[in-house]
């Protein structure tokens, strides 16, 4: 008689009310499922897209590497690994430590001036002494020292580039200083 059209009004008004509320229930449920599903899909793809941007494998130089035996390094600053490994190997009377060649101001690579016995950063003029203390320029902290150890098998020095010694410096008239004795401790110092 009336396909797809509205139902004939039932005799019982209570039943009519029940019909309306059921319809409303299904409408709300449908809206909930629809929008909920949409929000879930949007949220899922957003999380997935964000996670995608964090690579699981990076093609970068190794952060733990060997640099030869302690006997290869004489007293003073060795500049030869700066380009390849971004480090200086320094030997004093007591042993060997490795300075990270990253300026603590804004991350440029300083240069070693053997005549002045100073590291000077070309970007903004930070100056460090041979221990990494700041003796001039805008650098707020002393140079990092990287973790070092001796490989028990071949006796080579192993540098852990991401293991950093970063003590709080004291402000003095000469610059930002750190007590050298407190720095010459394992794993940042090799007594050889």
């Amino acid at each position: 008689m009336n396909p797809g059209g509205k139902k004939e009004s039932p005799q019982n008004p209570q039943q009519q009310q029940a019909d309306v509320s059921r319809r409303r229930f299904f409408t709300l449920m449908g809206l909930g499922i629809g929008w909920g599903g949409f929000a879930a899909a949007l949220g899922g793809t957003s999380v997935g897209a964000l996670r995608y941007l964090f690579p699981n494998v990076v093609y970068e130089p190794p952060t733990v590497f060997k640099i030869g035996k302690p006997d290869d390094y004489g007293v003073g600053v060795d500049n030869k690994l700066k380009k390849e490994r971004q480090i200086w190997v320094v030997r004093n009377e007591r042993g060997i430590y490795v300075l990270v060649a990253i300026c603590r101001h804004l991350g440029c690579t300083p240069n070693w001036f053997d005549d002045q016995k100073r590291f000077r950063c070309p970007c903004h003029g930070s100056i460090y002494d041979v221990t990494g203390n700041v003796v001039g320029g805008p650098a707020p902290r002393t140079l990092w020292r990287a973790g070092v150890s001796i490989d028990p098998v071949d006796g080579q020095i192993v540098v852990n580039f991401n293991q950093r010694q970063d003590p709080d410096p004291k402000g003095t008239d000469e610059g930002l200083m750190v007590d050298e004795k407190s720095r010459e401790v394992p794993p940042f110092f090799l007594q050889v």
């Binding site: 997935g48 897209a49 996670r51 995608y52 941007l53 964090f54 690579p55 699981n56 494998v57």
Partner: protein, 256 residues
Amino acid sequence: MNKLLDQIRENVTQTQVWKSIFRHGFPSNDANRALVMFSNVILHLHPVRVRRGALKIKFTWCLGGLTFFFFVMLAVTGVFLMFYYVPDTRRAYNDIKDLGTVIYFGSLFRNLHRWSAHAMVFSVWMHMTRVFLTGSYKPPREFNWVVGVILLVVTLVMSWTGYLLPWDQLALWAVTVGSKMAEATPLVGNAGPFGPELGMGVDNDVRFVLLGGTVVGQSALLRFYVLHCLGLPLVMALFMAVHFWRIRKDGFSGPL
């Protein structure tokens, strides 16, 4: 409480920032409904008034809209792929392998891109078939039909340039074969009619320009990458803008 809410609503909706974004009232009358379309950069592409018959899904099957959806999908997933893919013959294949096995959701994005590309080619053909069968290419819409044919060709070239990028055997030989066909282009191909007479050889014809050399190598990969990610999408966006603008001007050719 209600007073407070009204006050907050007032403070939000009466600001210049709000009014500069929402430039019309609630779309509860014809004037505001039209303003919604006019004042929104996305919605204004759609005609303000459409005949009831043309809105029937059985008339358009939404095929043009689907094609555009796939294009947007390809643009978004393509940007994601570009974060990891390097068009270097020594790296390209490994980067694709990384996307498939190493990078989180990498295979999802790559497959979304791949399947959207297939789906877009399919929906473009279906869209054109529909337009042909409903006679929607007839004047005054013949201009837009030609724009559509250009978009079809650009879509196919997009597919073809994207095909080379994985730098596997399939890619290399498909493009070797495809670019060999370009040699037979009249006038500008070295094996085409009047090509040799005009001085076309393997090192100065249309294939040479396309590949940036005489073989499918590093320069071909770079050229295809630039065309695929930048050149052709720009051309496509330009013609799509014209295409949508003509739909808006000419209206839908729905049954009366």
